[in-house]
């Protein structure tokens, strides 16, 4: 198959990849605002830790395992492209993926891997050891995300045009930008970790568990939405009509989802809340992710309303079933991902770029069945593997901080930092010194009393009772 390089497509995909990277710091704000003030830094660090670790893993083996030559009948890629081998040649002979350099595709897919891992951290807010989280992120990436990305996204064909990509892709499951690979995957893993770690102390009772900074949550949701245009429209891998189609759906579905969530809140709780608006936007974005090139904008509005309302109801499940999915990774990402993935089986229409006919367009139950297989297989695989990885970590190095550390706040216990010092400024009784042996020696030699006692020094104060 011969393809030609397109500067326009390349420019868009590179920009889209940068937008998707911004989603993870956005997620850090979204999640950070929802935690207590004493654990906001740890919450944000789990996202930044995912960026650092998964970024490196992706270049080393992730891309190869996701998009390298297929192994085991569509289950995983091999290690032929270790450290991006075969994609780096420059000049005229640069390897292309479609009309863009393969390297641009590597980058675009890499930021998907990063945010998928970061999403999981919302289920274990306030109580996970940072080191254990990083170990989990390492094994989840290798054992779960890279294979699942291969299942869903790899559409490679051999020289004769025979399909040699991932098994879900080959089956005909429609997942344009990662409803299964990213959101169901992260949501199922989040549920597994919430069960492994157990509830926070005071879960469901302590009023201090409420979000400490809702403007952060709104800011984070805004950054996520902005980046999501790269996530969905970038998945067209070109500056074209498919990208525009996905873009419009990425606008309208979250808008409808905000309305859906707020209507449920107003009817159920009596108030339309800012946390609800931010959550509704994210729920709509999650749901439209797999569907954004498969359903018309009119159906995207229906999907958004549905996803907003369903997710608003689903976030209450944790109180009913007694698991502490702290920031509702299950209620928003797992449930939203399932709603969007299955909705394709109903409303996928002939006018949309992704070819497939849903139930409403005379396609019968075939596509719906495939979508269910896609959602179910990723859900079960991710949940079981995450449960095993999390269980092994909790039995070896321990996954959860001590009760004392949780009460004091994981920011101080894990990172030796605090986000805020309001109310204590100027009278903390604290001391400060630079770290390091030389600096420490100078600090030790320094004695403030010497300054006061020095006879030649400028002294303005009088001795009392002299």
């Amino acid at each position: 198959m011969t393809t030609t390089f397109s500067a326009g497509d390349t420019a868009w995909v590179l920009a889209a990849a940068a937008l998707v990277l911004l989603m993870t710091p956005g997620l850090a704000f979204f999640y950070g605002g929802m935690t207590r003030a004493k654990s906001v830094l740890n919450m944000m660090m789990m996202s930044f830790g995912a960026i650092a670790l998964v970024g490196v893993l992706w270049v080393l083996i992730g891309y190869s395992m996701s998009f390298g030559t297929d192994w085991f009948g569509g289950l995983v890629g091999n290690f032929d492209k270790f450290a991006l081998h075969g994609t780096l040649s420059t000049g005229d002979d640069m390897a292309l993926a479609g009309t863009i350099p393969e390297l641009a595709f590597v980058g675009f897919q890499g930021v998907f891997a990063i945010i998928t891992v970061a999403l999981i951290s919302g289920a274990i807010a306030d109580r996970a050891k940072f080191g254990a989280w990083m170990v989990f992120a390492f094994f989840f990436s290798i054992l779960v995300y890279f294979p699942v990305a291969h299942w869903v996204f790899d559409a490679n064909k051999d020289a004769n045009g025979n399909f040699i990509g991932g098994w879900l892709n080959g089956l005909g499951v429609i997942d344009f930008a990662g409803g299964t690979a990213v959101h169901i995957n992260a949501g199922a893993a989040g549920l597994a970790l919430a069960l492994i770690l157990g509830k926070r102390n005071g879960f469901g009772k302590d009023p201090n568990h409420r979000p400490h900074n809702l403007p952060f949550v709104m800011l984070g949701a805004g950054l996520l939405w902005f980046g999501w245009f790269g996530f969905n429209a970038g998945s067209a891998l070109g500056a074209n009509g498919v990208a525009a189609f996905a873009w419009i759906n990425t606008l309208v579905a979250p808008c409808a989802a905000v309305l859906g969530w707020l209507i449920v809140e107003k009817l159920r709780d009596g108030h339309a809340t800012s946390l609800g608006a931010a959550s509704g936007a994210v729920a709509g974005l999650v749901a439209v992710t797999p569907a954004c090139a498969a359903i018309s904008p009119l159906w995207a509005i229906v999907l958004g309303l549905l996803a907003g309302a369903v997710c608003a109801l689903a976030v209450g499940l944790k109180y009913r079933f007694g698991y502490d999915d702290s920031l509702d990774v299950v209620g928003v990402h797992l449930v939203g991902g399932i709603v969007g993935t299955l909705f394709i089986g109903l409303a996928a229409g002939p006018g949309a770029p992704s070819k497939g006919q849903g139930l409403f367009y005379g396609g019968g139950f075939e596509l719906l069945g495939k979508q269910a297989i896609g959602a179910g297989s990723v859900l079960v695989y991710s949940f079981v593997l995450s449960l095993v990885i999390g269980w092994i970590i909790s039995k070896t190095m321990g996954f959860r901080v001590s009760t004392e550390a949780e009460e004091a706040g994981v920011d101080i216990a894990l990172h030796a930092e605090t986000a805020y010092s309001a109310g204590t400024a100027g009278s903390t009784g604290a001391s400060f010194h630079p770290l390091g042996s030389k600096a420490q020696a100078e600090v030790d030699a320094f004695n403030a009393d010497d300054l006061l006692a020095r006879p030649s020094g400028k002294q303005t104060g009088k001795k009392i009772n002299a």
């Binding site: 009023p207 409420r210 979000p211 159920r268 009596g270 609800g276 976030v315 209450g316 509702d328």
Partner: protein, 112 residues
């Protein structure tokens, strides 16, 4: 001498302070306080979960007054801080044995 302590709505601080100044009060002490009275607190809702917040933010105003000023100052505070709704706060007085101005050592009414 009396110490007048008023626990009032935070948003009423400015109007109370201006009224006290107009009456002739020289100085007041203001501090942040939190608490609840008969009406208790309020309820916040986050993703369908309710959190009841019982300790509400209040302002504590303390004024030293001579005995003959006390009733007038109480009137000023009560009329300016009253909204007619629950949560307006409380005012009380206690006897003060001595007051001393730190800078000059003046005592009693002169220190007020």
């Amino acid at each position: 001498m009396k110490l007048i302590t008023a626990i009032v709505r935070p948003e009423k601080l400015d109007v109370i302070r201006e009224a006290l100044e107009a009456y002739g009060v020289q100085g007041i002490t203001v501090s942040a306080a939190s608490g609840y009275g008969q009406q208790r607190g309020y309820t916040e809702v986050y993703r369908g979960a309710e959190y009841s917040v019982d300790l509400l933010p209040k302002i504590r105003i303390e004024v030293l007054a001579t005995d003959d000023q006390t009733d007038d100052i109480l009137d000023v505070i009560i009329t300016t801080s009253n909204t007619g709704r629950a949560g307006d706060g409380k005012v009380w007085t206690v006897d003060v044995h001595e007051a001393i101005r730190v800078r000059t050592g003046e005592r009693g009414a002169a220190a007020i």
